[in-house]
């Protein structure tokens, strides 16, 4: 694997649509649940260990080459909120566009053909990582990092939070991010023999509920 390739895929400026999604931070800011760096850190930690773990495991499994159709079904089952399923598929489609242009690959073409309306983003992410020559642990790292970098960036824009504080929040989460990625890669190996049921499925009821609340707003800055 190439560290530089990993940086390209993980770059927040990789044009895959992530900038318009807050990972639930917009709803949490409006409700007052995120109001400073400390509450942002708590939010990111909670999201990392729920949605982040689930996404990282799916991405790792896709990077290992598990059947993406089965992984997509597993992602659906792990995402009760229809607003979050729609956001995940839209982001998956956007990432697919960027990934196919960046790392042309028959695996990506096949996944795009199987899901013309978009597969779940972590499944596309893992497939893209594979196309780029990256491994399961790399894919898991990117998914885990995206699960917290999105809310952190969004909170800087939404609250005018000091960007240095937001970067500090992410930096202090690094050991936990590494742990989540390692666990996800291990689970993906297990899923290769036992099927996608063996992947972890942690979810946060409040993130699912708040995503539905957010989807009902007539006016919002972020798509999710």
């Amino acid at each position: 694997m190439s560290l530089a390739t990993l940086l390209v895929l993980a770059d927040g400026r990789f044009p895959a649509g992530g900038h318009a999604h807050s990972g639930g931070a917009e709803a949490a800011c409006k409700a007052g649940r995120i109001h400073d760096a400390a509450t942002l850190a708590d939010f990111c930690r909670g999201r990392l260990h729920t949605a982040g773990v689930t996404a990282a495991a799916l991405a790792a499994a896709a990077a290992l080459g598990l059947d993406p159709v089965e992984l997509d079904a597993a992602a659906d089952a792990r995402t009760p909120s229809p607003a979050l399923r729609a956001a995940a598929r839209r982001l998956g489609r956007q990432l697919m566009r960027a990934a196919r242009a960046t790392w042309p690959d028959p695996g990506l073409d096949a996944l795009a053909a199987a899901f013309p309306r978009g597969a779940h983003q972590p499944v596309v992410l893992g497939t893209a990582a594979r196309a780029a020559g990256l491994g399961a642990l790399d894919a898991a790292h990117v998914a885990a990092y995206e699960s917290v970098s999105g809310p952190a960036t969004a909170t800087v824009r939404l609250l005018g939070l000091d960007p240095f504080e937001a970067s500090g929040v992410l930096a202090r989460l690094a050991p936990e991010l590494d742990g989540v990625a390692a666990g996800a890669a291990e689970a993906a190996l297990l899923a290769r023999t036992e099927g996608p049921d063996a992947l972890p499925a942690p979810s946060s009821p409040l993130l699912e509920i708040a995503a539905q609340v957010h989807a009902d707003w007539p006016v919002r800055l972020f798509a999710s």
Binding site: R45, G46, A77, P80, S81, S203, P205
Partner: protein, 263 residues
């Protein structure tokens, strides 16, 4: 016990293992028979009054299990066309064990073609110092209907919660329909009680209704205030998820949802 036994420390007493089994079949006269109704240890079973074609079973907690180290299992198998309702007589208390080891509580539901099961136990209370892993797995034939309620209360009134990990997996026609894991309490990963966790709520629950009729007429997504939502799943099913300050408020919400989507 003599204090002598030198080189090895005695292993803590193995926890209790108990399995309750329920088998429901169509009785051929428009009702449901229960050829298998076998409780064990703290898991005692009583047949209750039928409601039409639906046989009723009450899980009677003969002890306040599970304690740490215990492993309890409930298995219910509904044959083709059978109709079964299962309830529990009281809340289940997860209690600490002597050795600090976790307790396990497994529920396995199996629904054949046209079977109909309502699994509506009372709350699970995670008592301070306890460590419980709950695993609920339901496998449904494509034409089966399931109504399932789960309520978790974190700590008795005014008490800090124990550690609770719960996973709910629903497979329909061999495909995953819902797969969710929840971790709360001192042993849970960071952020569980924060703004992306349960944000200080002490009662949470879900009502799942799987009904093939939703294929043609899926319920609409809708929010029930700031802390509850109705979410149609990617299949003929709806999940109502709610956070509440207490068990009473939670039950009111889920009861209303049961009236709207269940039977």
């Amino acid at each position: 016990m003599t204090p002598a036994a030198p080189a090895t420390t005695p292993a803590p007493p193995a926890g209790l293992r108990a399995t309750a089994r329920i088998g429901a079949v169509r009785d051929g006269r428009g009702g449901t028979a229960l050829p298998l109704l076998a409780g064990e240890g703290p898991l005692a079973l009583r047949r209750t009054r039928d409601e039409g074609a639906e046989a009723g079973v009450m899980l009677v907690g003969a002890m306040s299990a599970p304690l740490g180290g215990d492993h309890l299992t409930v298995e219910a198998d509904a044959g083709p066309g059978a109709r079964l309702a299962m309830r529990s007589a009281a809340a289940t208390l997860a209690l600490p064990g002597r050795g600090g080891e976790p307790a396990r509580y497994d529920v396995r539901l199996s629904l054949a073609e046209d079977a109909q099961v309502r699994w509506l136990p009372e709350q699970l209370v995670s008592v301070r110092g306890s460590d419980l892993r709950v695993r609920t797995r339901a496998e449904l034939a494509p034409t089966a209907r399931l109504m399932l309620r789960e309520e978790q209360v974190l700590g008795r009134t005014g008490e800090a919660p124990g550690t609770l990990r719960a996973r709910l997996t629903v497979i329909r026609g061999g495909r995953p329909l819902l797969d969710q894991e929840l971790s709360c309490g001192p042993g849970a990963p960071g952020g569980w009680d924060g703004p992306a966790g349960i944000a200080g709520h002490r009662a949470l629950g879900q009502l799942l209704v799987v009904d093939p009729r939703f294929d043609a007429d899926p319920p609409a997504a809708r929010v029930l205030g700031e802390f509850a939502a109705v979410t149609p799943l990617a299949g003929p099913a709806v999940l109502v998820t709610a956070l509440a300050p207490d068990a009473l408020r939670l039950r009111e919400l889920l009861d209303e949802a049961a009236r709207a989507y269940g039977w």
